[in-house]
Symmetry: C2
Subunit: 183 residues, 2 copies
Protein backbone atom coordinates (compact mmCIF):
# COMPACT_ATOMS: atom_id res chain seq x y z
CA UNK A 1 0.00 0.00 0.00
CA UNK A 2 2.47 2.52 -1.26
CA UNK A 3 2.14 6.18 -0.47
CA UNK A 4 4.14 7.97 -3.17
CA UNK A 5 4.54 11.16 -1.14
CA UNK A 6 8.26 11.68 -0.48
CA UNK A 7 9.59 11.18 3.03
CA UNK A 8 11.26 14.06 4.79
CA UNK A 9 14.81 12.75 4.88
CA UNK A 10 18.12 13.82 6.30
CA UNK A 11 20.76 12.65 3.83
CA UNK A 12 24.34 11.76 4.75
CA UNK A 13 27.49 11.25 2.75
CA UNK A 14 28.99 8.43 4.86
CA UNK A 15 32.44 9.15 3.42
CA UNK A 16 32.35 12.63 4.95
CA UNK A 17 29.72 12.88 7.69
CA UNK A 18 29.32 16.32 9.23
CA UNK A 19 28.64 17.01 12.88
CA UNK A 20 25.01 17.75 12.14
CA UNK A 21 24.65 14.34 10.45
CA UNK A 22 26.14 12.60 13.47
CA UNK A 23 23.96 14.53 15.92
CA UNK A 24 20.82 13.72 13.94
CA UNK A 25 21.76 10.06 13.72
CA UNK A 26 22.41 9.82 17.46
CA UNK A 27 19.01 11.34 18.16
CA UNK A 28 17.19 8.94 15.83
CA UNK A 29 19.17 5.91 17.03
CA UNK A 30 17.99 6.61 20.59
CA UNK A 31 14.67 5.22 19.40
CA UNK A 32 16.20 1.73 19.30
CA UNK A 33 14.95 -0.08 22.40
CA UNK A 34 17.11 -2.88 23.75
CA UNK A 35 17.65 -5.03 26.75
CA UNK A 36 20.60 -4.08 28.96
CA UNK A 37 23.37 -6.54 29.76
CA UNK A 38 26.79 -6.59 31.35
CA UNK A 39 29.70 -7.86 29.29
CA UNK A 40 32.67 -9.03 31.35
CA UNK A 41 36.06 -10.60 30.92
CA UNK A 42 39.28 -11.04 32.85
CA UNK A 43 42.62 -9.54 31.93
CA UNK A 44 45.86 -10.02 33.85
CA UNK A 45 43.76 -11.50 36.65
CA UNK A 46 41.57 -8.42 36.89
CA UNK A 47 37.82 -8.18 36.25
CA UNK A 48 36.69 -5.84 33.48
CA UNK A 49 32.99 -5.24 32.89
CA UNK A 50 30.67 -2.75 31.23
CA UNK A 51 26.99 -2.21 30.61
CA UNK A 52 26.04 -2.80 26.99
CA UNK A 53 22.94 -2.53 24.85
CA UNK A 54 24.66 -3.53 21.59
CA UNK A 55 24.52 -7.32 21.72
CA UNK A 56 22.58 -9.98 19.83
CA UNK A 57 21.61 -13.61 19.75
CA UNK A 58 22.75 -14.52 16.23
CA UNK A 59 22.40 -18.27 15.75
CA UNK A 60 21.31 -21.29 17.72
CA UNK A 61 23.35 -23.85 15.78
CA UNK A 62 25.78 -23.61 17.35
CA UNK A 63 24.59 -21.06 19.93
CA UNK A 64 26.36 -17.86 18.88
CA UNK A 65 26.12 -14.25 20.05
CA UNK A 66 27.85 -10.98 19.29
CA UNK A 67 28.61 -7.77 21.13
CA UNK A 68 29.55 -4.39 19.66
CA UNK A 69 32.12 -2.42 21.66
CA UNK A 70 33.97 0.84 21.10
CA UNK A 71 37.36 -0.16 19.76
CA UNK A 72 39.47 2.29 21.70
CA UNK A 73 37.86 1.64 25.08
CA UNK A 74 39.12 -0.55 27.90
CA UNK A 75 36.29 -3.07 27.56
CA UNK A 76 36.57 -3.25 23.77
CA UNK A 77 40.27 -4.00 23.92
CA UNK A 78 39.87 -6.48 26.75
CA UNK A 79 36.99 -8.48 25.25
CA UNK A 80 38.35 -8.53 21.70
CA UNK A 81 41.74 -9.75 22.92
CA UNK A 82 40.29 -12.27 25.37
CA UNK A 83 39.48 -15.89 24.70
CA UNK A 84 36.36 -15.82 26.81
CA UNK A 85 33.74 -13.40 28.07
CA UNK A 86 30.27 -13.34 29.55
CA UNK A 87 26.96 -11.64 28.97
CA UNK A 88 24.57 -11.21 31.92
CA UNK A 89 21.05 -10.07 31.04
CA UNK A 90 20.02 -7.47 33.62
CA UNK A 91 16.67 -7.35 35.37
CA UNK A 92 14.65 -4.32 36.42
CA UNK A 93 16.34 -4.15 39.82
CA UNK A 94 19.78 -3.81 38.25
CA UNK A 95 19.51 -0.14 37.34
CA UNK A 96 22.18 0.91 39.85
CA UNK A 97 24.63 -1.66 38.54
CA UNK A 98 23.80 -0.66 34.96
CA UNK A 99 24.57 2.98 35.71
CA UNK A 100 27.76 2.14 37.61
CA UNK A 101 29.16 -0.08 34.87
CA UNK A 102 28.20 2.41 32.14
CA UNK A 103 30.17 5.24 33.73
CA UNK A 104 33.35 6.08 31.81
CA UNK A 105 34.88 7.28 35.09
CA UNK A 106 34.58 4.00 36.97
CA UNK A 107 37.85 2.65 38.41
CA UNK A 108 40.03 -0.18 37.17
CA UNK A 109 40.60 -1.35 40.73
CA UNK A 110 37.62 -2.55 42.70
CA UNK A 111 35.22 -2.19 39.79
CA UNK A 112 33.08 -5.06 41.10
CA UNK A 113 33.73 -4.62 44.81
CA UNK A 114 30.12 -3.49 45.35
CA UNK A 115 28.60 -5.62 42.59
CA UNK A 116 27.44 -9.13 43.60
CA UNK A 117 28.70 -11.67 41.10
CA UNK A 118 29.81 -15.26 40.63
CA UNK A 119 32.24 -16.64 38.05
CA UNK A 120 31.33 -18.33 34.80
CA UNK A 121 32.61 -21.90 34.63
CA UNK A 122 34.77 -21.68 31.50
CA UNK A 123 36.01 -18.09 31.09
CA UNK A 124 36.01 -17.25 34.79
CA UNK A 125 34.52 -13.87 33.90
CA UNK A 126 31.89 -12.27 36.12
CA UNK A 127 28.20 -13.22 35.99
CA UNK A 128 26.02 -10.61 37.65
CA UNK A 129 23.96 -12.04 40.51
CA UNK A 130 20.28 -11.93 39.60
CA UNK A 131 20.89 -11.96 35.84
CA UNK A 132 17.78 -13.17 34.02
CA UNK A 133 20.04 -15.36 31.90
CA UNK A 134 23.80 -15.50 31.46
CA UNK A 135 26.08 -16.80 28.73
CA UNK A 136 29.75 -17.78 28.84
CA UNK A 137 31.31 -17.31 25.40
CA UNK A 138 34.46 -18.22 23.50
CA UNK A 139 35.52 -15.69 20.87
CA UNK A 140 35.38 -16.96 17.29
CA UNK A 141 35.73 -13.73 15.29
CA UNK A 142 36.32 -10.00 15.69
CA UNK A 143 35.11 -7.64 12.95
CA UNK A 144 36.06 -3.98 12.72
CA UNK A 145 33.00 -1.87 11.99
CA UNK A 146 33.74 1.88 11.80
CA UNK A 147 34.77 2.95 15.33
CA UNK A 148 33.69 -0.34 16.88
CA UNK A 149 34.69 -3.98 17.21
CA UNK A 150 31.99 -6.58 16.73
CA UNK A 151 33.07 -9.56 18.80
CA UNK A 152 31.43 -12.88 17.91
CA UNK A 153 31.43 -15.79 20.34
CA UNK A 154 30.11 -19.31 20.72
CA UNK A 155 28.31 -20.22 23.92
CA UNK A 156 30.24 -22.74 26.01
CA UNK A 157 28.07 -22.52 29.14
CA UNK A 158 24.87 -20.76 30.15
CA UNK A 159 22.20 -20.60 32.80
CA UNK A 160 20.02 -18.47 35.01
CA UNK A 161 20.95 -17.28 38.47
CA UNK A 162 18.85 -18.92 41.16
CA UNK A 163 16.73 -15.95 42.08
CA UNK A 164 15.85 -15.05 38.52
CA UNK A 165 13.78 -18.05 37.44
CA UNK A 166 10.54 -16.86 35.93
CA UNK A 167 11.58 -13.23 35.95
CA UNK A 168 9.46 -11.17 33.65
CA UNK A 169 11.10 -7.81 34.21
CA UNK A 170 14.11 -7.20 31.96
CA UNK A 171 15.89 -3.87 32.22
CA UNK A 172 15.23 -1.99 28.98
CA UNK A 173 17.17 0.92 27.53
CA UNK A 174 15.21 3.38 25.40
CA UNK A 175 15.67 7.05 24.61
CA UNK A 176 18.65 7.38 27.00
CA UNK A 177 16.71 6.02 29.98
CA UNK A 178 16.24 2.68 31.67
CA UNK A 179 12.67 1.47 31.48
CA UNK A 180 10.48 -1.50 32.39
CA UNK A 181 8.02 -3.51 30.34
CA UNK A 182 4.33 -2.97 30.87
CA UNK A 183 2.85 -6.05 32.56
CA UNK B 1 31.65 -8.71 45.76
CA UNK B 2 32.37 -12.21 44.62
CA UNK B 3 30.21 -15.11 45.70
CA UNK B 4 32.40 -18.20 45.27
CA UNK B 5 29.46 -20.59 45.15
CA UNK B 6 29.42 -22.26 41.73
CA UNK B 7 26.71 -21.33 39.26
CA UNK B 8 24.38 -24.02 37.99
CA UNK B 9 25.51 -24.17 34.39
CA UNK B 10 24.49 -25.95 31.22
CA UNK B 11 27.71 -26.60 29.29
CA UNK B 12 27.92 -26.91 25.52
CA UNK B 13 30.56 -28.20 23.16
CA UNK B 14 30.02 -25.68 20.33
CA UNK B 15 31.74 -28.00 17.87
CA UNK B 16 29.04 -30.61 18.46
CA UNK B 17 25.94 -29.07 20.03
CA UNK B 18 23.18 -31.54 20.87
CA UNK B 19 19.47 -30.86 20.50
CA UNK B 20 19.14 -30.36 24.24
CA UNK B 21 21.87 -27.68 24.14
CA UNK B 22 20.09 -25.86 21.34
CA UNK B 23 16.72 -26.06 23.08
CA UNK B 24 18.17 -24.73 26.32
CA UNK B 25 19.94 -21.90 24.52
CA UNK B 26 16.79 -20.89 22.66
CA UNK B 27 14.87 -20.77 25.94
CA UNK B 28 17.50 -18.60 27.65
CA UNK B 29 17.97 -16.35 24.62
CA UNK B 30 14.25 -15.51 24.74
CA UNK B 31 15.17 -13.37 27.74
CA UNK B 32 16.87 -10.89 25.39
CA UNK B 33 14.50 -7.96 25.04
CA UNK B 34 14.74 -5.89 21.88
CA UNK B 35 12.94 -3.36 19.82
CA UNK B 36 11.21 -4.69 16.72
CA UNK B 37 11.97 -3.34 13.26
CA UNK B 38 11.24 -4.12 9.63
CA UNK B 39 14.17 -4.66 7.30
CA UNK B 40 13.34 -4.16 3.63
CA UNK B 41 14.99 -4.17 0.26
CA UNK B 42 14.08 -4.44 -3.43
CA UNK B 43 15.02 -7.27 -5.71
CA UNK B 44 14.14 -7.53 -9.40
CA UNK B 45 11.74 -4.64 -8.81
CA UNK B 46 9.88 -6.47 -6.04
CA UNK B 47 9.65 -5.46 -2.37
CA UNK B 48 11.03 -7.87 0.19
CA UNK B 49 10.60 -7.18 3.91
CA UNK B 50 10.69 -8.98 7.23
CA UNK B 51 10.30 -8.26 10.92
CA UNK B 52 13.61 -8.41 12.77
CA UNK B 53 14.81 -8.10 16.33
CA UNK B 54 18.49 -8.75 15.55
CA UNK B 55 19.77 -5.32 14.56
CA UNK B 56 22.08 -2.78 16.16
CA UNK B 57 23.29 0.76 16.06
CA UNK B 58 27.06 0.14 15.88
CA UNK B 59 28.82 3.45 15.31
CA UNK B 60 27.93 7.09 14.81
CA UNK B 61 31.08 8.06 12.87
CA UNK B 62 30.07 7.35 10.22
CA UNK B 63 26.54 6.28 11.20
CA UNK B 64 26.64 2.49 10.85
CA UNK B 65 24.19 -0.28 11.71
CA UNK B 66 24.00 -4.03 11.30
CA UNK B 67 21.29 -6.61 10.93
CA UNK B 68 21.54 -10.37 11.49
CA UNK B 69 19.51 -12.51 9.08
CA UNK B 70 19.18 -16.24 8.50
CA UNK B 71 21.47 -17.01 5.58
CA UNK B 72 19.20 -19.43 3.74
CA UNK B 73 16.08 -17.30 3.93
CA UNK B 74 14.60 -15.05 1.28
CA UNK B 75 15.26 -11.87 3.23
CA UNK B 76 18.83 -12.86 4.15
CA UNK B 77 19.70 -13.54 0.54
CA UNK B 78 18.00 -10.40 -0.70
CA UNK B 79 19.53 -7.98 1.80
CA UNK B 80 23.03 -9.45 1.70
CA UNK B 81 23.08 -9.28 -2.11
CA UNK B 82 21.52 -5.84 -2.26
CA UNK B 83 23.31 -2.53 -2.35
CA UNK B 84 20.75 -0.82 -0.16
CA UNK B 85 18.16 -1.62 2.48
CA UNK B 86 16.09 0.04 5.15
CA UNK B 87 15.31 -0.40 8.81
CA UNK B 88 11.99 0.96 10.16
CA UNK B 89 11.64 1.02 13.96
CA UNK B 90 8.13 -0.16 14.80
CA UNK B 91 5.82 1.46 17.30
CA UNK B 92 3.33 -0.17 19.64
CA UNK B 93 0.52 0.02 17.07
CA UNK B 94 2.52 -2.02 14.54
CA UNK B 95 1.92 -5.42 16.12
CA UNK B 96 -0.20 -6.63 13.20
CA UNK B 97 2.45 -5.64 10.67
CA UNK B 98 5.15 -7.22 12.85
CA UNK B 99 3.26 -10.52 12.93
CA UNK B 100 2.51 -10.42 9.22
CA UNK B 101 6.09 -9.76 8.18
CA UNK B 102 7.44 -12.37 10.63
CA UNK B 103 5.35 -15.15 9.15
CA UNK B 104 7.40 -17.64 7.13
CA UNK B 105 4.29 -18.33 5.04
CA UNK B 106 3.76 -14.81 3.78
CA UNK B 107 3.63 -14.44 -0.01
CA UNK B 108 6.25 -13.12 -2.42
CA UNK B 109 3.59 -11.28 -4.38
CA UNK B 110 1.65 -8.55 -2.65
CA UNK B 111 3.67 -8.76 0.55
CA UNK B 112 3.12 -5.07 1.25
CA UNK B 113 -0.28 -4.68 -0.40
CA UNK B 114 -1.91 -4.17 3.02
CA UNK B 115 1.08 -2.48 4.69
CA UNK B 116 1.24 1.33 4.41
CA UNK B 117 4.71 2.40 3.34
CA UNK B 118 6.70 5.04 1.50
CA UNK B 119 10.04 4.62 -0.28
CA UNK B 120 13.44 5.54 1.13
CA UNK B 121 15.17 8.18 -0.99
CA UNK B 122 18.37 6.29 -1.89
CA UNK B 123 17.65 2.54 -1.84
CA UNK B 124 14.00 2.83 -2.80
CA UNK B 125 13.22 0.14 -0.21
CA UNK B 126 10.08 0.33 1.91
CA UNK B 127 9.82 2.52 5.00
CA UNK B 128 6.87 1.50 7.19
CA UNK B 129 4.40 4.34 7.71
CA UNK B 130 4.44 5.37 11.37
CA UNK B 131 7.98 4.10 12.03
CA UNK B 132 9.46 5.83 15.07
CA UNK B 133 12.65 6.31 13.09
CA UNK B 134 13.84 4.90 9.78
CA UNK B 135 17.27 4.44 8.23
CA UNK B 136 18.29 3.98 4.59
CA UNK B 137 21.54 1.99 4.42
CA UNK B 138 24.24 1.10 1.93
CA UNK B 139 25.89 -2.28 2.53
CA UNK B 140 29.59 -2.12 3.43
CA UNK B 141 30.25 -5.67 4.67
CA UNK B 142 28.61 -9.07 5.06
CA UNK B 143 29.95 -11.47 7.70
CA UNK B 144 29.00 -15.13 7.92
CA UNK B 145 28.24 -16.06 11.53
CA UNK B 146 27.15 -19.69 11.97
CA UNK B 147 23.78 -20.04 10.23
CA UNK B 148 23.38 -16.28 9.77
CA UNK B 149 24.64 -13.36 7.73
CA UNK B 150 25.52 -10.18 9.60
CA UNK B 151 24.98 -7.36 7.12
CA UNK B 152 26.69 -4.07 7.96
CA UNK B 153 25.57 -0.82 6.37
CA UNK B 154 26.28 2.89 6.44
CA UNK B 155 23.37 5.27 6.79
CA UNK B 156 22.80 7.36 3.68
CA UNK B 157 19.46 8.87 4.70
CA UNK B 158 17.23 8.80 7.77
CA UNK B 159 14.22 10.38 9.39
CA UNK B 160 10.99 9.94 11.25
CA UNK B 161 7.59 9.54 9.64
CA UNK B 162 5.37 12.52 10.23
CA UNK B 163 2.98 10.96 12.70
CA UNK B 164 5.70 9.46 14.88
CA UNK B 165 7.38 12.57 16.24
CA UNK B 166 7.63 12.30 19.99
CA UNK B 167 6.44 8.71 20.05
CA UNK B 168 7.34 7.05 23.27
CA UNK B 169 5.90 3.63 22.58
CA UNK B 170 8.33 1.33 20.76
CA UNK B 171 7.19 -2.20 19.99
CA UNK B 172 9.31 -4.52 22.14
CA UNK B 173 9.93 -8.23 21.66
CA UNK B 174 10.52 -10.27 24.81
CA UNK B 175 9.98 -13.89 25.67
CA UNK B 176 8.30 -14.64 22.33
CA UNK B 177 5.72 -11.88 22.74
CA UNK B 178 5.33 -8.27 21.67
CA UNK B 179 5.22 -5.93 24.62
CA UNK B 180 5.07 -2.24 25.48
CA UNK B 181 7.16 -0.12 27.80
CA UNK B 182 5.73 0.93 31.12
CA UNK B 183 5.05 4.69 31.09
Amino acid sequence: MENTEALTAHRIDPDAPEQDDIDTYRLLAEDIASGAAVVATRRYGRDIAATVTGFLDVSYDPPTMLVSLYGDGRIGEAVSESEGWTLSLLNGDHRGIANWLASPANPVHGLLSQVPFRRAPVSGAAVIEGAISWFDLRTTAVHEVATHLVVVGEVVAMGTTDDSVGSNDPLIHFSREYRHLRR
